[in-house]
Every structure is written in C-alpha cells, then in structure tokens.
Assembly symmetry: C2
Homo-oligomer: 436 residues x 2
C-alpha cells in the first residue's frame, strides 16, 4: 500500500516517539497522540496546554481537543477547571495518577508476589507469600496466587483505581502466541494455561466485585528487564538482566527493547552449561548455569540442611535478610558461598558479554539484596573472561527493585495498553463504584 503523507503518523515530543503505521486510520493517529500526551505528562509533570502542544509538536487546537478527551477519560485534570473555557495560559494540565493501575504478579518456586502500580508509579497494593512450589500442584499454586490478586483488586477498588490489566510472570518458558506456560522445570509445570486458570479463579472471587480485567502471562525475567529499562541511560540501551531466583532467569535488551526473539522464547540463559562435571539440573541436563547460581545452590553451599533459613514457610525476604545479616557479620561460610556464586555468575555472564557487549549487566532478583558481596566476583570474572579490553566497558549494576523487579515490570507492562491508546480505558471493566 502507498502511504499517504497527510496521515504521517509519527508523533513525538523531544524524548518520546510514538510510531503507528503510515497507513493508519485517523482514529489510530488520535489514539497514539493521546498516548503521547499521557506519557509526556507522566514523565515530565504538569504543564500548560500551550507548552504541552509546543513540546509534543501538535497544534494548540489539536492538543486542546486531546486534553479534553483525556479529562473525559478521567486520566488528567486541569488545575483551574472552571476557567478552562477562557483558555487562560496559566492553567496546568496534570495527570490523575491514581485513575488507572496495572497489576503485576509472579509465580516462583518458593514465593508468590503481587503489586499494583498506578500511572504515576505509586504502589497502591503489594503482597508476597512463601510457598513450596515443588510439592504443591499447579492448581494449588494458582489458587494462592488468585487469592493475592483478589486482595490487590479489592485494594484498587477501595482506592478508586481502574485496573488496566494483570500480567503474571512465571519462571519458565512462556509461549507468547498461545499465552500458555510451556515448561517451568523448577516448578515441574508443563503446558499450563496460567492466564485462563487465573482468569477463571478471579471470575469466581474478584468477579463479585465486577468483571475481571484482562490477564496475560509472561516470562518473569522478561518482566524484570522491563522494570530496568531507562531510555535516558545509554548504558541501558544494550543490557543483560540476570534475574536470580531458585533458578536463573535472564533477559537481553538490544537497542532499548527487551529482545523477545523470533517466537518470543529469548532469554533462556539458565541452562548454559558451565560445569560439565556438575550437578543434575531440573531440565534433565548436567551442570547448567542455574545449578550453581540459583538461590538453591547458594543456600546449599552457605547452610546446613537443618538451618532454619531453609524452612519453606519463610518468605524470600526473610531468607535474604538472614543471609545479609550473616554476610555483614563476616560469617566465613556465607562469604565463601557468595564469592562462589558471584564467580559462577561472572563466568556465565562473560559469555553473554562477549556475544553482546552490553552497557550494563544488571543483578536482579535475589542477587540485588546480596549485590554488595556478589558484584566484586562478577566484575573479576568479566575482567578475566571478556576478550575486549576492560571487559568491553560493560558495567555491573545492582537492581534497585531486586526481588520485586518482575512484579513491577508486570505492572508496567499491564499499563502499556493504556499508554499506547488511552481510549481503551472506556472499554475496561470498572471494579469500583468510585468517581472517575
């Protein structure tokens, strides 16, 4: 098809570019522009309609019409609403941060987590629960997860916030096309329709509050990487995110985007063989990277089987707090175990750094809490094993989110549809009777 220049649909402001097909219809262009304004208000704070128009490259008339639509959707308000009609230039357009939120959830072998984050980035609900995912069947795990999500939906309702979507991160292979979890070796799951199962359970519980928001499923490390994206940091345009849990999840960011690969299976780095004479992995192979850097490996090396830290009832945070305490007290066995895990982490990371030369390797998941002790060993391995000088200039960073990175990322991903096209909000089920 021939593009029509009159419908040139690249809309942008200085920092944000939103592109839609050059053959897009006018409604798509309008949606993209609404999204641009919304992102701009979220990222750079309240401004006058005139400045907003100028900075987004829209004419003032167009911008004013779009702002009115966003007001109608309950997503922004004008600070001096009464005099809006007079077009006073001093009137400030401001995001209604709490109008809408995204929910991120996570299924891991030893814990579940849920968080609801609104448009302004404020956490409006958060919960975690320790589980014994290896011995609990999938239905049991998902029933507990649905409980946690139901609580979060109730809290969102109380706060008067519409839930845009729910994104569930799982430590395993997710078929992005069918939205099923194909394989989660550490959970022992094969071909589980997590999204449909959770939707079903929510309809039975949260459904009492109203219709259930869309539920999607994704790989947890992919979600964790989303939380680490920062368009303002050139060192994060190419990035490797190592997400430590019982196993090891990973995600690769290339050119500012999380690389999903041709069919969405990218990021399976945990089964890189680093120790051919090593231990058997949950995947059936021997000496996979995650057998030496997963939380299980750390606990086995740092503690005895009867150590209270291994109690499955403990949350991840409780375990990590104990490890941090022991490391701070310079407990020899803990420090040696951390050094060993850090060294293996660096050994595998060097393979990815040689292949990809990322600006940053992010230690996320459980690694974040222990970053102080892991990072030196990781850096030492990169310096030794990366062919390019000075480890290719790659720096090692510790995630600011740590074990909450995946749920945070899930919440951000859940908000994406609203930021791409705020008009979807009109079609979303309202879980609350509050004002919008």
């Amino acid at each position: 098809m021939t593009p029509r220049p009159g419908q040139e649909a690249t809309v942008r402001d200085a920092d944000i570019t939103v592109r839609v097909s050059a053959t897009a219809d006018p409604a798509a262009v309008r949606s993209a522009r609404l999204g641009l304004l919304l992102r701009s208000l979220r990222d750079r704070g309240p401004r006058s309609r005139g400045r907003l128009a100028e900075e987004t490259g829209l004419t003032r008339t167009v911008a004013t019409g779009l702002v009115d639509e966003l007001v109608e959707l309950g997503l922004v308000f004008c600070e001096d609403a009464d005099r809006r009609g007079a077009g006073r230039p001093g009137v400030q357009v401001r995001l209604v941060g709490g109008a809408v939120c995204g929910v991120g959830a996570e299924v891991n072998v030893d814990h579940l987590a849920v968080v609801a984050v609104d448009l302004a980035g404020t956490v409006i609900a958060e919960a975690r629960r320790g589980i014994d995912g290896r011995n609990l069947p999938a239905e049991g795990v998902l029933a507990e997860l649905a409980d946690l999500i139901t609580d979060a939906l109730a809290e969102a309702r109380t706060a008067g916030t519409t839930v845009a979507a729910i994104t569930v991160g799982v430590a395993g292979l997710v078929d992005t096309a069918t939205q099923r979890v194909t394989l989660a070796p550490n959970l022992g799951w094969r071909d589980i329709d997590v999204a449909e199962d959770v939707r079903h359970r929510l309809a039975a519980t949260a459904g009492l509050l109203g219709p259930v928001p869309p539920v999607r499923v994704a790989n947890e490390a992919t979600l964790a990487a989303t939380a680490e994206l920062d368009p303002a940091d050139a060192d994060r345009a190419d990035m490797v995110v190592l997400y430590g849990e019982v196993g090891l999840g990973g995600a690769i960011v290339s050119g500012g985007r999380v690389a999903m690969g041709r069919h969405g299976w990218a990021g399976e780095i945990g089964h890189l063989q680093v120790d051919p004479r090593g231990r058997r992995c949950g995947c059936g192979r021997t000496g996979c990277w995650e057998t030496v850097v997963g939380l299980r490996a750390l606990l086995e090396s740092a503690t005895d089987p009867d150590d209270p830290i291994r109690d499955p009832a403990l949350t991840l945070e409780e375990r990590l707090a104990t490890l941090v305490e022991r490391a701070r007290l310079a407990d020899g066995r803990t420090l040696a175990a951390l050094d060993e895990v850090g060294t293996w982490l660096g050994t595998g990371a060097a393979v990815l750094v040689n292949a990809l030369n990322p600006g940053t390797v992010v230690l996320s998941g459980y690694y974040a809490a222990l970053g102080e002790w892991l990072r030196p060993a990781v850096e030492a391995r990169l310096a030794a094993d990366v062919l390019a000088p000075r480890a290719g200039g790659t720096r090692v960073a510790v995630s600011a989110f740590g074990p909450t990175a995946a749920v945070r990322g899930g919440a951000l991903v859940s908000l994406e549809p609203v930021l791409s096209d705020p008009t979807v909000l009109a079609d979303l089920p309202e879980l609350h009777g509050g004002t919008r």
Copy 2:
C-alpha cells in the same frame, strides 16, 4: 529542543523508512530524501517520476527536483533525457548502477580477499590470495592486502566507477571508536592501526591514480552478517550468523540490525568455553568453541599433517573444494570430522539460540561450502539442547555467499554513506577520468 513539525524528517516509501533527527536542518532532510529515492530505485527498479513520487510519499515537484540532483550526481538517468523538460509521464528514472561502488576487503589467517560491488549489486572486481598469516608479520600481510586493493581500484577506474569507500574486515576485535584492531588472536595482532596503514600504502601505490577513498576497518563477522540481512524475511530480523574461518566469528542481528553492543565489541562468540578439558586456544584459554569448530580443527581431524590440503599456499577455495570432493566420495574420515564439527557447532549455537531465539542461524564463511554435511548435526544439537519446543522454531540456513560474505558485506557497508546521503559523492576523490 523542541521539534518543529514543519521539518518532520521521517521519509519513507512502502518498504523503506529513513529517519533523521526531528530537529535536522533542511539540508539533512534533502540528503535523506535523495537517499530514499536512490534505495528505492536500486531495490525496485526503474519507474516514472510520478510513480516514484507517489511511492515515496513526496510531492511531485519535490521528487522531480531530487531526481534532477541525482542525475547531476551521475547516479540516475532519465531514459528519455531529451524530452525530460516536457515532463512526459512515460519517462523512466533508472539507476546508473556502475556510477559508484564499494570495496570490501578481508584479512584472515590463511587468506586475503577483496571485492568491489557497484550500486546495482554487480561485482566489478574480485581477488583472493592464500597467505600464511601466522608467520607473516602484520606489515607483510597488509602490504599484500594493499596490493589486492590497488588492483581492485584500478579495475574500478577502468570501469569508470567511483569508489565510495574501502572497508577492511579483520578476524579480531576492532575498536570502532579508534578504528584500530585491538586484538586478533589467530593472527597474533595487538593494537594495529589497519585503516591508517592501508590508507598509507594505497596513497603510495593507488595514489598514483588519484586521491585514496576513505578506509575503515570492522570485524569480519559483523560484515558477513550485513551480507545476510534481508528486510523482507521475518526469519532474518533476529538472526545469529556463525562465520567459520581458521577460528570462529559471530554476529547477532536483533530487530533487523547487526547488534554492535554498547562499545562495538559484540559478536565475540568464538571463545565460549565448550570443552573445559579441550585444547589450548590462541586467546590463552582452554576449550574455546573455535578450537573445535574452526577450519584448523576440521583440517586436523579430517587430514594427516602431510596431507597436501594443508599446504599454506592453497587458497581457502581450493581446500574446501578438496574437502567437498572427499565428502561426496563418502570418505569416512572426512564425514566423521564434519559430523564432529557440526555437533560442536550446534552445541555452542544452542547457547545463543536459548538466549536469543533467532529466526535463523546462518552457517557462513567456510561452513557454507560444507553446509550439506554440517547442517544435520547442527539441527540435531539444537533440537536436543534448546529448551523451547522444536528448537524454538529456529531454522538453520546455509549462506549463499560463504567465504565471500565478509567482503560482500564490506562492499555494502562501503556504499552506505552514498545511500544515506548521495551528495557525499560530490566530495569523493575520483580515481578515474571516465565520464560520470
């Protein structure tokens, strides 16, 4: 800075999009549009000015002015030039394919190669020479390379073709910022200013013909990957290119672009450790991937030390022809060696496929000639070692260019400046006295 919508500088036709900064000056916009027209004529053949305007989303007046500029630069001609003024709609705008060419050159441990490819994709000069790069000092290697390039420049001159640039691919780490070869373990090179050295030598020889075109240096596998890019093939938007030579070079394509990484060092996959009890590598480590899949490994496993195939005077093609002949005759030792190399190739490739889920793994370099025997073993390893079902949907392809992929890619890269901004042609040294 605030973008000015009047200078919206995304120019595109149905298949090609060229973006320049939204704050670009009008000259940059004009250059990008000239490039767009040139690419469009190259990729889709001659057309009338009217259709060209329509398909590139430019007004007819603007397109006509731009076509006139391209005629002036000698890059296109109008088939009915005498009646051009009359604006007959049937007049066809046609690329002058031979107006300009790019030169690609390659330094490998056992051979040198040069090719000149013009805008239409026609090879106008080509040469290869076997060398013993391990025993010849860098100056000796580069002197031989400069000889080959000089011959290619002379041929371009005879053909009446302007040389846009010369890009030299090296099997080693290239510092893209300083344009120096930091480390080429198999050549034994450290910190060699290849571009400056070649420029110097050309000034002394080819310089007699006129000023020397710009010389750049790049990693050879990166160049080989450029030759494999195909925007029309979704399976090639995410791609891993394995470039077999004495060692193993690699390149990763993500989102349709060759991933260079933060500082340009991406693609160093040859030193992934696959066999901790294996042989010593040129890099000083043990059991690197390239020690089991490089041409040296294949020759050592397939032939005795006194086999005539190991004569350093042979070109790569001669060696490969002998191997192909033996494989066709079902020589047991040759087939076993190929199966072994293919299996190791698949073992390492599985690591990258797990991490990146590419649509295609391309067997390039020396692997291409032997693809028939290597591919089954590679596919078998991917099926066994990739966690995602059906090897993640990744297919294994054999390069159509093979050992010439890097020089071809170098020639394409050399033409890039002209395709991005055809006006650079006015500033290029003319090596010829022919008509343009």
